[in-house]
Symmetry: C2
Subunit: 198 residues, 2 copies
Amino acid sequence: MPRQVDHDARRQEVSLIAAKLIAQVGVERVTVRELARAAGYSTAIVSHYFADKRQLLLFTYQAAAQSAQERVDAVLGRSPDDLEGCLTALLPLDEERRREWQVWFAFWGMAIGDAEFAAEQRRRMAGSRRMLVRVLRAMSASGKLPPNGDFDPDLAARQFLTLINGLAVQVGFDPDDWPAERQMLMLKRTIAQTLSTP
Amino acid sequence: MPRQVDHDARRQEVSLIAAKLIAQVGVERVTVRELARAAGYSTAIVSHYFADKRQLLLFTYQAAAQSAQERVDAVLGRSPDDLEGCLTALLPLDEERRREWQVWFAFWGMAIGDAEFAAEQRRRMAGSRRMLVRVLRAMSASGKLPPNGDFDPDLAARQFLTLINGLAVQVGFDPDDWPAERQMLMLKRTIAQTLSTP
């Protein structure tokens, strides 16, 4: 493998193991040493990829966000106006996605009192909002939005982000109370309500 | 002051200082020693109130939840069917309430991989849902709900909790983008939508 590819692939691999470790034992107890043991590498090798725990968590967060983004891109690549599909891709419907959200919760916890982490979170949220506004404009162009002269795509996008984040927090700590059907019921309900409100 | 009152009051005082410290420097960097310095007590005294950092964070979380509960109780004491009032009491509309939410984010971060913290969060969420169902039943009794035979108070309560948590996450990391008026606009909009959906 070329050097750079090897480097990137290994960082990716280590960050996946970090995500699993965070979900199991919590972010406080994840150390570079602990991670090296779980990954089967020496501490020196892991330290070569991540200077410290902060950098490790930032990378793990970005990797989780990237994987969510790829699911959304796959949906929108097929149909750019598939609002329900792209919101569904973000919900914690299975274990892999619940783990992504757990990485985000850990990151939010660390972003309190950390200006750089908070800025990263802000950028991600603004990016998701722009993506949703694009989907809503595509729906409007393809005649999928009910006729509604005063419809405000920015406000609607904010409602959808509120839905996704608010649901994820509830599901995250009580998955048994939130089977996939209940999450989807809430999603469909909110989409219908939001699209029909001026 | 009687001994017990003194003990409780001092724990309360120390937990308020802990909440401010978490908001400033983040939960990772809050230690019993750091907290003692900020509070002007010796490490030994603070250790007397909180055995370790986990206990400190649990107490600080419970104190923040308690203070939110008191605001809600004050609203419902005046009128048991004031849904907008009780949801407003939970929104991060001012600095004190934003700090409460920051304590909760820090707690969520620590609750990943911590079964006891996760159970506490689950209990709080279920308690808030029961409270909202009571308010919705009171609205129904006082004729404040639009006639709607199929209205499901549990589902509506879930929508309101989704709103509050989802808004708080967005406001928490981008308060400038979420002035009080925008939060209230979103709240009123969601209340109107939710109460008019079967």
